[in-house]
Symmetry: C2
Subunit: 469 residues, 2 copies
């Protein structure tokens, strides 16, 4: 399958150039003005071509709860989330489709799905997401979300002497499940990559982390986890290990150039040095960090230390969208208030590189994707620069990253296959998806989470909020 | 002109109700289920009806420079802005249309345009904006941006002994110009309201503020200004007055229930108490405050002190959009990181009230607009709840405010006149507008601002950035 995009605007060091881009056998074969067309010809006039972005951290099935969870910090928010989590694999299938559509229509071509598993239907959950991603054609990195401790263990205990229920599945059984899933679903040629993805130090034993390290080494897979999202987690790490979470993860060998870590809000300077030394990637989820009151990740410090940074939407119940351009914009300008010296601020071109090449690096895939480079996979996006939201004409990348692009994605290709054309998804029936999402849900004002009411008093106590209650 | 919207979802205290809304003679005449239809019938099924929001602070002609100004703090950013400001009234007309369209398609029905005047063509500038707003049919509050000091006076002097050029127009001539503009353009019945809007303490003398107070009292008009947007302005106020800017504005009598003040980032607790006491309104422009590195306005403190707060997009060169829903979302969740106690965080319903009734209060128009209330003007918006971005169905207001609504505005009415139907603007030809914006602009990578290169060294020195240079 070959095609040639003619006369697209592409960014070059000195500004922009008009060029043709040729694709042969799923890869970029040439980029230059006035190429002899090969295969189908696509008009790129008045359009900007950029490498596809990576939605480097999300939880697709949270889409069922977007808009409904009230303003709460992570530790209470997650209790409500799990009280109402989807329990049918068909729901997982539909929300994976929805996540892919929104990711595409905001410039993404790859998604990292830290997938919440339905208890007792773990493999069915993964199968449902795999089916969705293969049908729709997004490049998927699926990390089944695993843990081996119960929810209340994720909060600092303080002096409460609180006892936690045993987790529903043993560490050993969980690792066996992961190996089964890897054998069954890992299929990079077909666009499905499995990740090892323990949820994080707050709910995982060392044995679980170590088992994941072993599997990732044996099967050559990337590692993922949440890391120090909240002040409570920082406190918990010190209770649990007597050192920082980053020091502990380094000690047990979890950090590596194949490891990406979501959030990274509460790292101090010595933790940042460890991140740089080990080559681990930070996945920045700015909207979720604001929504849950987690804080501002020290992204400018990461960049100064040479730590790779990419962007994620995080799950749609803590965002509450899957618009990657929104996450990139806010995740770029947010840091201008953390350093008075504007020479450190992230430029729109740097944002694009973080979202594309940064995302690829965090998945150990920078040889294959993340830039418009001859030899790399044809994962790219053509933006319509005549959209009202990108007018008047100024700097196209500035408009795209700092603006609020609306209906700006004209076409998307993943692995050389066109999956959005003239702003419409071509691989699935989006109207049918809308109808199914509509039919399986209902409008509601309030709902009550039983677990939140059980654990809120403890949370307020350990976080020194009792004075406010 | 009468019409009835049937079976729309409307928010009530306990959640949502399905009701009909009847409009007679530009005002809401009834809200109840199963009304006898009057006039044209509109199907509100699967749609949410909300009062129109107020884009409570913008500078419409900045649209010509969106996406192009690099990451810079206000004091340097504004130097670049003025180096390339539009100089033709026709440009002002086109960007006012663009501002109105983007405001509507993100839930707004009113706009406060702190309008940058073309030197020597001041009345022509205002006339161009008035023409645009009347043609397109948005409710407009136009505050011509005035000052009587030159740009460099807006930075702290430190010990530099810097001399400033005289401003191009005398204080007296500026006040005469304002009176002429009021007589010529103030026409509330036709949807055009004039405001007195000195740019702020950084570039205005007391004589200018006092002249504006006199005109606002004599013609019963609202007052507007920027206030303490940056740390540099805070420092400047102390250099200039030996007290805080808020104390000084109170002393000269500028603060009142008819005064709205954009930004309000650097107020301390005693300033906040003055704001509450005088009944002035804070217009929160979160995106601009991040983009320019200005800081986070203490919005939760304002709310706790009883200060009215509304939302603005600010000009499109410091945002770089006019999407009000984006400003509302970020301006709501941003503050979750400023107070650990989540019980203080802004809920989506509170955001809606700030954006609608809060906006109306700041314009002394809460009797006429800002809520779905019988007797108020029919300024409201119908959202399509079957948009993919608002599915699955959960809490409609939560989806709208916390999500990233795309193509969600179905219909908009201003003063009882429908100006958006099925997501399309009905009063102007938006494709023709796009072509004109396209034809009058060009894509560009970099440009050099002469003024920035002249003043940057001084800025870095007074802001103690020299160590970084």
């Amino acid at each position: 399958m070959s095609f040639t995009i003619q006369n697209a605007l592409i960014p070059v060091e000195s500004g922009y150039e008009t060029a043709d881009v040729q694709v042969v056998d799923n890869c970029i074969s040439a980029i230059a003005p006035n190429l002899e067309p090969a295969g189908r010809v696509i008009d790129g006039k008045n359009k900007l071509l950029l490498p596809g972005f990576v939605n480097a951290h999300t939880h697709s099935s949270e889409m069922w709860q977007r808009g409904i969870i009230p303003p709460l910090p992570l530790e209470l928010w997650i209790a409500e989330l799990y009280d109402f989590t989807p329990l049918e694999p068909e729901q997982v299938y539909l929300s994976a489709l929805g996540t892919a559509v929104e990711t595409w229509l905001s410039g993404g071509t790859s998604v990292v799905d830290h997938l919440v598993l339905i208890p007792g239907q773990e493999l069915e959950t993964i199968a449902a997401a795999v089916r969705a991603y293969q049908e729709i054609g997004i490049r998927a990195f699926i990390g089944p979300l695993i843990q081996d401790e119960s929810l209340t263990a994720g909060m600092p205990a303080g002096d409460s002497g609180i006892e936690h229920a045993a987790y529903i599945r043993s560490t050993k059984a969980t690792l066996e499940l992961m190996e089964t899933a890897i054998k069954q679903f890992h299929n990079p040629e077909k666009g499905v990559n499995m990740l090892l993805a323990p949820t994080g130090i707050q709910l995982c034993s060392d044995a679980l982390f170590e088992g994941c390290i072993e599997l990732s080494d044996r099967y050559n897979l990337c590692r993922h986890a949440h890391l120090l999202e909240t002040p409570a987690q920082k406190q918990l790490a010190h209770e649990k290990y007597g050192c920082s979470a980053v020091e502990h993860l380094q000690e047990i060998g979890y950090l590596s150039p194949r490891t990406s870590l979501a959030h990274c809000v509460w790292l101090d300077d010595s933790d940042i040095a460890i991140m740089a030394e080990t080559g681990a990637t930070v996945v920045h989820n700015p909207l979720s960090n604001l929504r849950l009151g987690s804080g501002i990740a020290p992204i400018l410090k990461y960049r100064q230390a040479g730590v790779n940074v990419s962007f994620g939407c995080d799950g749609a119940a803590s965002n509450d969208s899957q618009d990657l351009l929104e996450a990139i914009k806010i995740g770029s300008i947010l840091h201008n208030i953390t350093d008075l010296d504007y020479r450190q601020w992230i430029t729109p071109r740097q944002s694009v590189e973080m979202a594309s090449l940064g995302g690829a690096k965090g998945l150990n895939a920078a040889d294959e994707m993340g830039s418009l480079t001859v030899g790399k996979k044809a994962d790219f996006v053509l933006y319509d620069l005549t959209s009202l939201s990108l007018l008047p004409r100024t700097d196209p990348i500035g408009l795209l990253i700092l603006g609020r692009p609306t209906n700006a994605v004209d076409s998307v290709w993943v692995n050389g296959k066109q999956i959005v054309a003239e702003g419409k998804v071509t691989t699935i029936d989006v109207d049918a998806l809308r109808r199914k999402l509509f039919d399986r849900s209902e409008w509601t004002g309030k709902r009550q989470s039983q677990t939140v009411s059980e654990i809120e008093a403890h949370y307020r106590k350990v976080m020194n909020l009792q004075g406010y209650s």
